[in-house]
């Protein structure tokens, strides 16, 4: 039954729900005590909430612990949230810090071992194995993507090409000459590579690529279809964030029905981002994680801003590790257009349903008297016509599609190919000009 599925740590990956619950309760008690004793920040949080570590006996008591926000990491910049002396730390990563000081995370030797282990599972789950040639086009450096993948790829015995992001000519050259079988990068960069190949007249079927493991930004189901069609591969979604460990928090199995969270290390919840109350299973909200085993920078109920839902039903692949749906967007990416909530990922999903449309688009929000939502869409040789009437019909069709599903008036601006900036790392799909005017 489970022969078609691969496991790295079969014993842990196939634990039953009851076994996982029991393990989580035990590890939760330990990490709460650890945080209380080792992290002054948590000691203070517990005292202010009149809470003792003993008050947390099982996951059911989790709600008593206040939510930890990203701001607390910034307030304790750089090392204030660490639970161990700096001499125990063997690796430091930091976020790009576009909206303030970077958030800094530190790993002990055990943390790196744990991260490597979950990345090994994460790569094995969709079918990456020893013998594969993995082209790792995630950025190497302070960003956790490059090194997180690197360690996992080596662990499973596959060969890693540590090419990092960018230099697309060389990416394609090595992909051909080294017979790369697995590509790891952001989903938008995979499309950029595909587009580049088309321009270079590279025959995709002559490549050896079979799997792509894509993450670090939200991407829609329809973008998956585009990538799979363009590169002739299985496109797999992976999730992670540096605060929790980096890539490897969760991944899709071949069923592609949600991302399995490695629950022996990460305890997920979904809360309403406004009220911070937990929602019932299956309901949409912001993901929250408690790290169950981390030593360097353990976090309790850390609010991610990533919008998802959870499903605890056992998967066809045999795993009971809870599934989170593909991240729909970030709570702070959500656009409010004339009072209506719009996720950029939903716009993408609707756009990609239209035949012939280019995956190169950009969302621009501006304010005249009311908010104005404009989507720039690149024309392609397939959608270009010398008759204005055809172009206007195409434009109107996209506008109708978006308006009927988003309930917001949308202007479509058709633009010539190549004018929308291509991204090597995370794609900049949304420009909110309202922010600059405040």
């Amino acid at each position: 039954m489970t022969d078609q599925y691969a496991y790295w740590n079969k014993d842990m990956e196939l634990k039953t729900r009851a076994e996982l619950d029991k393990l989580q309760d035990k590890r939760l008690r330990a990490i709460v005590k650890y945080c209380y004793e080792k992290v002054p920040f948590y000691n203070m949080v517990f005292k202010e909430a009149n809470l003792e570590p003993d008050d947390i006996k099982t996951k059911d008591n989790l709600i008593k612990i206040p939510i930890t926000k990203k701001q607390s990491l910034r307030d304790n910049y750089p090392f204030g949230m660490f639970a161990v002396p700096l001499r125990e730390i063997i690796r430091i990563h930091a976020s790009s810090g576009t909206t303030g000081k970077p958030t800094v995370v530190g790993y002990t030797a055990n943390d790196i071992a744990m991260w490597t282990e979950v990345m090994a599972r994460t790569l094995t789950t969709p079918g990456v194995k020893k013998g594969d040639i993995v082209q790792n086009a995630y950025g190497y450096g302070l960003f956790t993507g490059g090194l997180g993948f690197h360690y996992g790829i080596e662990k499973i015995g596959a060969a890693v090409i540590p090419i990092s992001g960018g230099n697309t000519d060389r990416q394609i050259l090595l992909m051909q000459d080294f017979e790369t079988t697995v590509l790891t990068c952001t989903p938008s960069y995979s499309l950029y590579i595909a587009e580049f190949m088309k321009q270079m007249n590279v025959d995709v079927d002559k490549l050896s690529l079979r799997i792509g493991v894509f993450g670090a930004e939200p991407w829609s189901e329809s973008l998956r279809t585009k990538i799979e069609d363009a590169l002739h591969i299985e496109a797999i979604d992976i999730y992670g964030l540096s605060e929790i460990c980096g890539p490897g928090v969760s991944v899709e199995c071949p069923e592609k029905t949600g991302l399995h969270v490695w629950e022996d290390h990460f305890l997920p919840e979904i809360i309403n981002p406004e009220t911070q109350e937990p929602v019932s299973e299956g309901e949409q909200g912001a993901l929250v994680f408690t790290t169950l085993t981390k030593e360097g920078i353990p976090l309790l109920r850390y609010l991610t801003n990533d919008i998802s839902t959870l499903d605890s039903e056992k998967c066809n692949c045999g795993r009971s590790h809870i599934r989170m749906t593909k991240v729909l967007g970030r709570a702070d990416d959500m656009l409010i257009i004339r009072g209506i909530n719009v996720f950029p990922s939903e716009i993408e999903y609707q756009l990609m349903k239209i035949p012939g449309i280019s995956e190169n688009y950009q969302i621009i929000v501006d304010r005249d008297i009311l908010d104005v939502l404009t989507v720039k869409v690149e024309l392609t040789p397939d959608t270009f016509s010398d008759k204005i009437a055809d172009l206007q019909t195409f434009k109107a069709k996209i506008e109708r599609q978006l308006e009927s599903t988003l309930q917001v008036n949308t202007n479509i601006e058709l633009v010539e190919p190549g004018v929308i900036e291509r991204s090597v790392g995370k794609a900049k799909r949304v420009i909110d000009l309202r922010k600059e005017k405040i």
Partner: protein, 140 residues
């Protein structure tokens, strides 16, 4: 029938200057041209002396360009000449999708895109209209 190139251009200052500089620098001569425009963009339709070369050049420069077969007719440069063509098309149920013109010494050239190219050619030939070929128009 002649080959017309249609190019998508944003409706912004400087775009046409850049475009025509490219053609000029590559010895491409424009024989006829028209622009259909909207607020955001326009479609420039043009007949040039060397459509293959022009097409390759524009593709290389990443312009969005397509090729369309259209009709080219030489008519007298006098009142009522265009009426004959328009009536002929209308009477035979052929729709003129767009039309433009260029002048040569003593005559006018009408460029027409119709919805039924083959039928239009038959009717025009039957009516003794002077249809121009690729060579005719490129060598004007």
């Amino acid at each position: 029938m002649v080959k017309q190139l249609s190019v998508f251009l944003p409706n912004k200052p400087g775009i046409l200057a850049k475009f025509t500089a490219l053609l000029g620098n590559n010895e491409i001569n424009i024989r006829a041209l028209t622009v259909a425009d909207t607020a955001d963009y326009g479609v420039l339709r043009l007949i040039v002396n060397d459509p293959e070369k022009c097409m390759a050049l524009l593709k290389e420069e990443n312009y969005l360009v397509s090729e369309t077969e259209i009709l080219a007719l030489q008519i007298e440069d006098e009142p009522g000449a265009l009426y004959k063509i328009a009536k002929l098309m209308g009477d035979n149920g052929i729709n003129i999708e767009y039309i433009y013109s260029t002048l040569i010494t003593g005559a006018a050239i009408i460029l027409i895109r119709v919805n039924d190219l083959e039928k239009a050619i038959k009717i025009l030939q039957k009516s003794q209209m002077k249809l121009l070929s690729d060579e005719d128009i490129y060598s004007i």
